[in-house]
């Protein structure tokens, strides 16, 4: 193929032509349709191969729910608070929309320049339950120390509808230089 093209299905040699074509007699408007539907309930249909059952199906996304069947992860940026100085994280404040109970894991990864290693501290939280679609606030007590903290949120598969409006990381920088 031409440079850069990615055609995974080049045609091969295929068998001879099919049989003669059927014809429609008279006006099609006088004929009844073959099968068919009323034309209601449109859904986004997705042809899908399941790698466990080795079977094919037509799948849909259920847009009435945000409780995905796969793990959800959101990594926040790595923060250079003060270069070369340890950071103490004391709490994380989360504003969320309550779509019912949801369980998630909050993690903070920091870097140790002395040891040249990364350290991750994780805690599991359960929030929500009112299912009122309103904004609520939760405070996650959290203690970790290190340089360049990075928050991460993981909601495991099917653990609830998680909707985050803001996440605030609170802490202070250490007196000691790390390096």
């Amino acid at each position: 193929m031409d440079g850069g093209c990615h055609n995974f299905n080049p045609p091969g040699k295929t068998p001879p032509p099919a049989t003669a074509s059927p014809t429609i007699g008279g006006s099609p408007a006088l004929l009844t349709s073959t099968g068919g539907l009323y034309g209601v309930n449109p859904l986004l249909l997705v042809p899908f191969y399941n790698n466990t059952s080795n079977k094919y199906s037509v799948n849909i996304y259920n847009t009435n729910s945000f409780n995905s069947e796969e793990d959800c992860q959101y990594d926040f940026p790595v923060e250079d608070i003060v270069i070369g100085r340890n950071i103490n994280i004391s709490k994380v404040i989360i504003v969320y929309r309550d779509f019912g109970k949801v369980q998630f894991t909050l993690s903070c990864t920091t870097y140790s320049a002395k040891l040249d290693t990364f350290n991750t501290v994780s805690r599991q939280y359960m929030i929500g339950g009112k299912n009122d679609n309103k904004l609520h606030t939760t405070k996650c007590d959290f203690v970790t120390v290190g340089e360049r903290p990075q928050l991460s949120i993981l909601r495991k598969a099917g653990q609830g509808n998680l909707s985050l409006v803001s996440v605030t990381m609170v802490g202070h920088s250490s007196e000691e230089q790390q390096v």
Binding site: L31, G35, N51
Partner: protein, 393 residues
């Protein structure tokens, strides 16, 4: 003297802006000096809804495919009686969804016939013209089904081949891409039967049907039908969309406008936007998608949005990650532009699915409205056809 501890707060807040993979994870642009960056170096299975980050919708089977069949596409059309049909093309045949599927999902699909031309795993292409659907699959035919003709004991196919391009020698052709423009069905990247047997793959060929008559393709019979091998450009066709009154033929290294000029002989003017041997084109067949006035495609070095008056890069902050995933695709990446995911999510998305090692799927979702990218995964399998809005009742 010891330094005093410095208190700090960093707030990440809505509106979030999606994945940013083109800068280091500690240098992502901030919304302001006080706020953290609204971008993320990594997102998996979250979507942006009203600027919030929200876990995505669950994905689950609606109905199984016919036993032993590999699907290549879904489609829906309305016939001349006003009856809707939801179709499933497989590697070997065509099926339609029956009304009783909720009661008996294992028998949801009625066969409309077999292609009888060997297996083609290329994604099926459909267009509707005057209440009839025309479809092809990279095999030797374009077929037509009117929604009325039934399979019979004498002829098990409700659909029939219509793409005879050489009446004298009774030769047919199929195609990899199909569209409609100027009252004519357009077939591109053709597979043509040859005198004496066998087929020839013409990845540069554009054919159009007779004006108002998609069952006539032989220009010696209907002079408004015709063909144009794009031999003056060095590459092959990888997609086709229509925006407004113009067709856009995507090549590996370029784009050719196909502009209707008449309904008679030579009905189109072909205008290569560029014909260089290296240039912006669509490198992955089936990643071209259109919605109303816009089209989106993937080039070698970015993702582009095209309209009649603009041509924009949209890979933006996330180009590197999308291009890297595409490079690791194990089969055809497939894209669709969705007008919405449902009435509660009325946003236009470009939805790019990439089959990855281990028979899993990576999905990049681009919102044309807030110009953000998020990533989804399907660890349970591979998406094998374009997502389509189809009636189910």
């Amino acid at each position: 003297m010891a330094r005093q501890p410095d208190y700090f707060e960093i707030t990440y807040q809505a509106p979030f802006r999606g994945v940013h993979s083109t800068l280091p994870e500690n240098k992502l642009p901030r919304a302001s000096a006080e706020l953290g960056s609204p971008f993320s170096p990594n997102i998996s299975n979250f979507l942006l809804k009203n600027g919030e980050i929200r876990s995505r919708f669950p994905f689950s089977p609606l109905v199984p495919c016919p036993v032993g069949q590999t699907p290549t596409g879904v489609y829906a059309f309305v016939d001349s009686n006003g009856v809707s049909h939801t179709l499933l093309a497989t590697v070997t045949g065509l099926y339609q969804l029956n009304k009783q599927w909720p009661q008996n999902p294992s028998k949801a699909w009625n066969s409309l016939g077999n292609f009888n031309t060997g297996n083609s795993y290329a994604p099926a292409q459909f267009v509707t013209f005057l209440y009839k659907t025309y479809f092809t699959n990279g095999g030797q035919y374009i077929w037509q089904w009117d929604g009325i003709t039934s399979p019979t004991s004498a002829n098990q196919n409700a659909f029939s081949p219509v793409s005879k391009y050489d009446t004298t020698h009774n030769l047919y052709f199929g195609a990899y891409f199909l569209g409609e423009l100027n009252y004519q069905v357009i077939a591109l990247s053709t597979v043509e039967q040859q005198i004496g047997g066998g087929v020839q793959y013409n990845p540069w060929q554009v054919r159009w049907s007779g004006s108002g008559n998609p069952t006539h393709w032989d220009p010696t019979v209907d002079t408004t039908a015709g063909y144009n091998p794009l031999l003056d450009v060095p590459d092959s066709i990888t997609g086709f969309i229509t925006i407004g009154r113009s067709g856009y033929i995507f090549r590996v290294n370029g784009i050719t406008e196909m502009i209707p000029v008449t309904n008679g002989v030579l009905p189109f003017d072909f205008n290569h936007l560029w014909a260089s041997d290296r240039g912006i084109g669509n490198v992955y067949p089936y990643t071209v998608a259109a919605y109303g006035p816009i089209g989106i495609f993937v080039s070698n070095e970015d993702i582009y949005q095209i309209s009649t008056s603009s041509f924009d890069r949209i890979g933006a902050e996330n180009r590197d990650a999308v291009i890297a995933d595409l490079a690791n695709a194990t089969s055809n990446p497939i894209a669709t532009i969705l007008p919405n995911f449902g009435q509660t999510i009325p946003y236009v998305f470009y939805w790019l699915t990439i089959p990855m090692a281990g028979n899993v799927t990576k999905i990049w979702v681009y919102s044309t409205e807030d110009k953000s990218w998020t990533a989804w995964t399907e660890e349970s399998g591979v998406i094998v056809g374009k997502m389509r809005l189809c009636v189910t009742g």
